[in-house]
Symmetry: C6
Subunit: 269 residues, 6 copies
């Protein structure tokens, strides 16, 4: 079950993705014209799936990195490791994508440490260069290299932002939850639930997403609806499935949980 | 007394666990459908025991990690160590679980450092992948791998929270203290005390858990009741046992300690 | 003068310890029933001496660690060192106690770094396990292993506290200064001073411990009284001995020092 | 596609640069008289392009470093690396420029860590020295070495500033956006769009740059206008191109985005 | 000019020290009875000289360490170094003093990092032990080992204090500036200036030390008076010597400097 | 162009330095009597040049270190490096100066990390010792070693100050800008401009230095005047030279820049 680290290969079937706007056209133009792309949107709305879909459609390998507080430039570019008494350079995922062609996707890029900008800047202007100081190489990105980054504007803070000098290097697309019919289709396809069940879950999600008086950090994602449908399909009781797959993952606060239950109850009534 | 690091093996007898709701059903569905599971609840209410119980029942090895402020992704995935002049890769507990199958349980996951998300994200969506940048491997989780995490919503703070983009990847179950009869059964079984003694301790715990005017970070756990019963069984005087096993472990504050003693005294009167 | 690192051995004579309550009984029950023990109390009231006394009485080796801000799990469990071109694993004091049996005493445990909890948790519930990720071992504590920790509730702060999930794993005993006759006995025995001199020092300490209007972080410990008696025994003048052994070690504040001198003067008048 | 790390070579054609003031004369005097140069100005106004242009015009290699929070002196000067069992010193980009001659350009120098000053100070006064403590060398900059640094005064803060003792070592030039005709020329040349389209984009940028009631960290750069023109040229609809290439890269705030759309609408009306 | 690291040897002549109270008696009792000693007092009042004096008088080697923010336990106890392919343990100054006998003096001990307490605690109670975890040794301090620490109560802050559990392990002596005649003697002896000149400088220092309306962090030390006398002796003009050796070292604030000049001028008038 | 790291050698011609007070006499007395020297003053007023001048005049090598936030004691004293499989000790600049004789100059010493005090303290009292814990050496400074440090009192803050216990170890001299005639001489000599041009620049600097209503961190240094004269000499227009060499290096603030232009315009009118 261990495969080469290239994270998806051209032979992979194209994952299902239901477009919600002109995002496919923009991705394709960006790909053709060598422009880097920035995806903005909430958790679980399909950004990662969209990138997988486009990579498979273009027949390109995809290198995905989930960024975090301690992610440094070396995590992207590579480092020297000692193996069997020998010092060996091991490319990081970004370097692999630049060296071999492919799409490198940095998920939640605002979480990464600031030294990541040193590798992003020369890659995202007309130079398209990746300098590897440690190996003394200066890689020029091939035509079939593309950089995609994403973040969620909903929970940025002042300490964690893309600098304008970085942001203004990207084409940007905003994502949102799919429209109700599309979302119901996705739920049915992923869980095997029937159309009526899927529509009920979509209506519940809509109610939660529109709640005014409740302080949720983020609304219920499509992924949680799929989880809930999976529980229902396996025979878990409706209330238990809603509680375990939607309400508990959204909040620990007793008042918010009560508010969520009320909002959902209205739907079913 | 040194054994292999697989922390429990199928041959181990199934540890006693008294269910308090539908947690066993949810765990089993999660196991069958490859969904990650999040357990929420106070200290000492049995989350760790529940996971041990389910692992033994399913005949799966269990890899438990107590998370803390300095726990990094490498503590979970593994690192290169130099042994006898050779550099050897040593799998961390998460990697062992993914490579060999089994349940990996991250206790108090909110305490871990943020780079842990980089390994949790691709493992907890439909990809179920564990990338090991250092070895150049991309492990695909087998069907018999499951990830369980837990935390205590009672003492989270703003700096230590699961990001919504992480939380919304889990089914979630809330735990609480067992009901009085169940708790008395547990105490009797673990300490060898008689039913009357166990019921007194459960009533004392109930009073403490319902105290309104006292600022306790957490109420008395079932574990402390078992400790207290153990002292009583060994012949320690009732007051001394209550003081050493329940009151002193709960607080250092003289006023709170007085309040606790009064609450307990009422019971005995 | 260099001996093996096992910090005290069964052949050592039992150090003098004057019990002030049921602490010996609780220690013995904890020892028999494999419960971890937490000692709470002010500086210099005899916690360390008590543990040495019990270890010698039980004929067990004692491994003491003074915890501090930078103490990590590896300081307790061990690490790989390079010796003569070879990489050698060196057990830390906790591992030595678990591997060979004995009492491990973590003094001022709240000062340690948070990753210490990762080794304390599995050792302090019914698992009694010490996982050594680095060596791939999972040590099971033998029957003759016991963990004792201590801290001073008087100067904890919000950043440095035992989490409830850690505290509730211990039986707890509170220590305080010995009663006047016991304290005088200790002073006479340790310094060789006569009974009258010892009683005067105990009365001075009592006055300081009861001072209301003075902001001392901690009151005079029994240790300081022994120091003072030692100076008197060597011929240092009374005022000079009080100043050097009691007042100057307690405070740098001129107002507090004046207040202390007045409180002591009343006694002598 | 991997070339030596010298980042541009004399054979490279001179990149197009449209001067907006006396910056070329000042650069040339600084080059002749061995004075270091500081470029100040907003994101995407052409500072990096200007330096590339001047380096190519002077036939000198250019070493560019994007500075960031974690950039240290060693990243500029070099470090020892272990390669094939041998320890090898690898020059950093600044050292390469000093050793071989050339222009070293530190982009966003205020972001670098403070130890960078230790290498900049002796290089930027009449000593023109680069001490390499690690190798024991003291390099004297040759006549054909020049140091150029840049930063954006628009988003400095109190923690990140050049100390006066550093600033006062540089000649300084302020950059701004090109005048409308120049900017339209640049857009036409870079995207292949026609003059009318370019002029519309320049007017849109002008409106955004003059917006009073909107809190943008930075206005639309020339680069974004080129991106937008590229989308238009590829057949993307006007509104979609403006949204993806200008509005979304500038802000995540719904109110600001609405304000931007209104400002742009006025132009088109 | 390179000698062994033992910082002073018995053959060294006893440095001049003018006692100002019972500090010599207390030091000798502490030495005989194996009590650790704490010296409190302002900068430049002779604490370091006093310790050198006592060490030479007792014929003991002296190991002095100036503590600072980054001083760790390993700086005191030692570490493994790689020399000529071999890993060699190198004792730190405290270990050398414990192993060979001698006085170890930790100057400004409150500045050291907190892990230093782990080595000080077992050394400063009746155990007198120095555990070296890295080498597996447990050193017992010989009779001719003594620990002396110092700090300046004048500029401690809340973050940098000795914990009571550390302070209460030491006898403590407060130091202050010498009385005028003693101070004049010291100045004459150290600089070669005549008695009249020395007395003038002592009076100037007295005026500065008594200044009420001026916010000096510390008053002029005896050392500065010696510096000033040295300048005068070499022929520097009186005003210039006062300015360079007393006023400029005390403050950068123009108002304070003017106040100091006025205070000094009154003396001379 | 690579020379040994001794930063200036006796054969070097004495750099021009125009004294402004008794600083040469004080330096010479400090040199003869082995007293450390502290230079205080604003940026670019000639402190570094003064030290170079005195070192050359005394025929002594000069070791200059620009201090910064991350400068540690090891950067001054040296460290072990691995070269060709061998571990080699490499002296830092301070050690080189102590071992071989010479002047060590720590520029902006307040910026250095606190562990630097551990090497400065024993070097700056009558011991004149440099302990090298790592090599086990205790170097005694030879008669021809001198320590000079500098800082700019104008932009210290509370976190970055010399402790009084450090400051009071130095003779101190305050520097300021040279008087107008001297400054004009310097400008003519360094740039080749004529006397009239130099006087105009000195008057401009005077106006800037006396500006009351403008918040400049530091006034224009002599160095900037030399830069400006250099531009004028090369044929740059007067306004352009003033803007690039004086105004832009002083501030980024539009209001301050306008104020500066007005102040300068008055001069020319």
């Amino acid at each position: 079950m261990s495969t080469a680290l290239k994270q998806s290969t051209p032979e992979v079937p194209v994952p299902f993705y239901q477009p919600t706007g002109n995002e496919e056209q923009l991705f394709e133009v960006a790909w053709q014209r060598h422009l880097p792309l920035l995806l903005k949107g909430p958790t679980g709305c399909g950004k990662t799936r969209f990138v997988s879909h486009m990579a498979a459609k273009l027949g390109m390998p995809l290198y995905t990195v989930s960024c975090h507080d301690d992610l440094t430039a070396a995590d992207l570019t590579g480092r020297y490791l000692i193996k069997g008494g020998e010092t060996v350079w091991v490319d990081g995922p970004l370097t692999r994508a630049v060296r071999n062609g492919g799409i490198c996707y940095l998920d939640e890029v605002v979480e990464a440490r600031k030294d990541v900008t040193v590798v992003l800047h020369p890659l995202t202007d007309d130079r398209r260069l990746l300098p590897l100081d440690r190996t003394g190489e200066l890689l020029e990105a091939p035509d079939n290299f593309m950089l995609v980054v994403s973040y969620n504007p909903g929970y940025q803070n002042l300490l964690k932002q893309l600098k304008p000098s970085t942001r203004q290097r990207f084409l940007a697309v905003e994502f949102n939850f799919p429209d109700p019919d599309t979302e119901a289709d996705i739920i049915m396809r992923e869980s095997g639930i029937d159309a009526e069940g899927a529509r009920i879950l979509v209506r519940i999600a809509g109610n939660i997403r529109n709640l005014a008086g409740i302080d949720l950090e983020e609304a219920a994602s499509t992924r949680l609806l799929v989880y809930c449908a999976t529980l229902l399909k396996t025979g878990v009781a409706f209330d238990d499935a809603i509680q375990a797959a939607i309400i508990e993952p959204l909040s620990d606060d007793r008042d918010i949980i009560t508010g969520l239950r009320e909002a959902i109850g209205i739907i079913r009534g």
